[in-house]
């Protein structure tokens, strides 16, 4: 088999690139026998590495050559590709993020040789879509509790019909454990401390800036705490594996603990205020949330009460590029700045929702075609809220469907209500843009699909939903009988 050696030479391998700048260099190709290449693809993009499952994202891609490479000849291809605007290069203990220039030669009937060279990216401002990422962090923090309660209700309560008194006993025991936990963690500390809380003046900060906050409480009884401490932490959080092999790894990259009060008496009925401030390091890593790889900054206040359960509260903060603070995220010094990031996000989310609602309403009014529906869904496919809104607007609408069949599903998943009796499901794609689809095929169309194999199919169907697990629009095809 022909050997094809690729290498990348950057013009400035030690340069720090900023968003919008071009990475320039030469891709070298050397082949030991004449070989046909259907495309030498050069691209830039980022990738995580370390203990978490790999997450990556593309920046720019270009095909610089296709044709024949002759034995013994060395080829050179100059390139100039965008450096990318997010995330910033980061090297930690269990999480690292690097940007690469990658070269890949597409060789028919052989493994495609490829090579990659890293370059350093430092961002000076957040990309416009970054608020989406922050909103995901905010959403995530609320979701597990709600999901937990719903799952508990859906799974456990119906089981009681089958398990009888044993089930009631187990449920009672679990309930008791939860009550004890709540009593110890929430009720008892609050019983003594009254309404303890802490506030951070700004939860979006630049490296090197000052984090200012205050712990406030008005106790019911006079309390002499052992200590009131506040900790600022930066933590790498990575998830590796999946299912039963799923493991979460954590590593604290920065920790500073301050003791606010020691052996100070918190007088009953009096408002006690304990201000605190931290100087963030000049080289503090930026907050990132890249699916299963995150760098999270948080502030935790803990009140150590003698012979009583301690009170603790944790709040996330976001470290953003220095210029971002100067350019407009603002430096609100008032108390209103405490939830500024979330307020901004809420506003932007609301505007985005309005736009999606307008689109979906106009879709309903105008009698949209499947082509328009696909284009609309394709445009918002990375924004879950907008996507759901658009899909909700077209559920129940009948279209003439055009699809390129991929694979038949042997098994459509537990209790999929959309599968026809004696029918089946196939995975397909719209021809362009290549939106993934699930087609629920009725029994009488079974033979037609069997003969079709992986060909193109056109017919009528009704949109029934969105498969969020696989990112596919679900369509129930009309039965001809």
């Amino acid at each position: 088999m022909a050997k094809c050696e690729l290498s990348i030479e950057l013009d400035e391998p030690n340069r720090v690139y900023h968003e919008g700048e071009k990475v320039e260099g030469i891709a070298h190709v050397k082949v030991d026998s004449t070989v046909k290449c259907t495309g030498l693809v050069l691209s830039t993009g980022w990738k995580t590495h370390g203990r978490g499952n790999v997450t990556s994202g593309p920046t720019e891609e270009t095909t610089v050559f296709s044709g024949q490479w002759t034995q013994g000849t060395k080829y050179e291809y100059r390139f100039s590709l965008s450096a990318g605007d997010w995330p910033q290069t980061y090297h930690g203990q269990i999480l690292s993020i690097d940007h690469y220039v990658e070269a890949k030669a597409k060789i028919p009937w052989a493994f495609d040789p490829k090579t990659a060279t890293p370059f350093m990216v430092r961002v000076t401002q957040l990309p416009t879509w970054h608020d989406e990422e922050l909103s995901q962090i905010l959403k995530k923090s609320k979701k597990p509790q709600i999901i937990g309660m719903v799952l508990f209700a859906v799974i456990c309560v119906p089981q009681l019909r089958f398990t009888g008194w044993v089930g009631v006993g187990v449920l009672g025991f679990v309930g008791l454990a939860v009550a004890v936990f709540w009593l110890k963690q929430k009720f008892l500390p609050r019983y003594l401390l009254g309404t303890p809380n802490f506030y951070i003046q700004e939860d979006t900060l630049a490296p090197g800036s000052e984090l200012v906050g205050e712990f406030i409480t008005q106790t019911r009884k006079t309390v002499v705490p052992n200590a009131i401490t506040v900790a600022l932490r930066g933590t790498e959080v990575c998830v590796s594996g999946s299912g039963s092999n799923r493991t979460t790894h954590k590593n604290v990259v920065f920790e500073e603990i301050q003791e606010l009060q020691s052996n100070t008496t918190l007088q009953a009925g009096t408002e006690n205020r304990c201000p605190f401030s931290f100087q963030l390091p000049e080289d503090a890593a930026l907050s990132v949330n890249l699916k299963e790889n995150s760098l999270i900054w948080s502030v935790e206040v803990e009140v150590d009460i003698p012979r009583w359960p301690d009170w603790r509260k944790n709040q996330s903060i976001y470290i953003v590029p220095t210029n971002e603070k100067r350019l407009g995220l603002g430096s609100d010094q008032s108390g209103a700045g405490v939830t500024r990031a979330s307020d901004t996000l809420a506003q932007e989310k609301s505007q985005a929702s309005d736009s999606a609602t307008e689109n979906s309403n106009s879709m309903m009014a105008a009698g949209v075609t499947f082509v328009e529906t696909v284009a609309q869904i394709w445009a918002v496919r990375d924004d879950r809220d907008q996507l759901e809104m658009v899909v909700d607007a077209v559920i129940g609408l009948s279209f003439t469907i055009e699809a390129q069949v991929e694979r038949r599903l042997l098994y459509a998943g537990d209790e999929d209500p959309n599968v026809y009796k004696d029918g089946y499901a196939v995975w397909a794609r719209y021809p362009g843009p290549r939106l993934p689809l699930v087609l629920y095929v009725p029994h009488d169309l079974g033979d037609e699909f069997e003969q079709l194999g992986r060909g193109a199919w056109t017919g009528r169907g009704v949109v029934v939903g969105w498969d969020s697990l696989h990112g596919r629009l679900q369509i129930k095809l009309d039965s001809t009988s």
């Binding site: 290498s7 030690n14 370390g50 090297h91 203990q93 599903l409």
Partner: protein, 216 residues
């Protein structure tokens, strides 16, 4: 444990560059990289799976190489389908393929298992339990491999060095794991490849922190 004869002069901003590497070689890989770097022979299995009544099952504990074999087979068989069955319900959709690869097959729900066994396609199961009885009942010839038994020092040495090679920064010398190192690791971790990789990941990072240069 890692030996290096000279050091790479450029890219000083990259912590691993002093070992002529662009990353810690023992971190998580993408599924494609795992398939590419696997030290497993699959040609005889591919030949076997040409028969639609053939089933192959890989049995073994976690971290021994069951999934790696599945990924390697998938990369060689473009018509195949691969499905991982999660620990908790619901059972995900299973695509038809030739062959059908099912990871953690012991978790298949009864209805999903029935669909798979009646598919009349060759099957590959990665499982913790022996499923040969139900496979035979549905007319399959079963080839069983117990994964992990062959994870000796030679194989460990080869696969670890492949991972280091895949993390190479540029031409030149890179660290190597010797057979003696591999013997020590196997003596400590047995055939648990994942355990060995985790240990080496941490050790490699630790050596970076202390500014280690040259032989580790």
């Amino acid at each position: 444990m890692f030996r290096l004869d000279d050091k790479s002069p450029s890219m000083g901003w990259l912590p691993w560059a002093r070992f002529n590497l662009h990353r810690n070689p023992f971190g998580e890989l993408t599924p494609d990289e795992r398939a590419e770097l696997a030290v497993v022979e699959v040609d005889y299995l591919i030949e076997m799976l040409g028969d639609p009544r053939q089933a192959v099952q890989f049995i073994g504990e976690c971290g021994r190489g069951k999934t790696t074999r599945m990924l390697k087979l998938r990369s060689h068989l473009p018509e195949s389908s691969y499905t991982y069955i999660p620990e908790h319900l619901p059972c995900p959709p299973i695509l038809s393929g030739n062959p059908i690869l099912v990871d953690e097959a012991q978790r298949l729900s009864r209805s999903a298992r029935r669909c798979v066994l009646r598919s009349r396609c060759s099957l590959v199961f990665a499982t913790h339990n022996d499923l040969s009885k139900s496979l035979r009942k549905h007319g399959y010839r079963v080839h069983t491999e117990h994964i992990g038994e062959s994870n000796g020092p030679e194989l460990v040495c080869e696969l670890l060095n492949r991972r280091i090679e895949a993390s190479r920064l540029q031409s030149g010398v890179i660290p190597v794991i010797s057979i003696e190192d591999a013997e020590l690791l196997v003596a400590e971790f047995g055939n648990d490849i994942r355990g060995i990789e985790n240990r080496l990941y941490l050790q490699f990072q630790k050596n970076l922190e202390v500014g280690f240069d040259g032989e580790m």
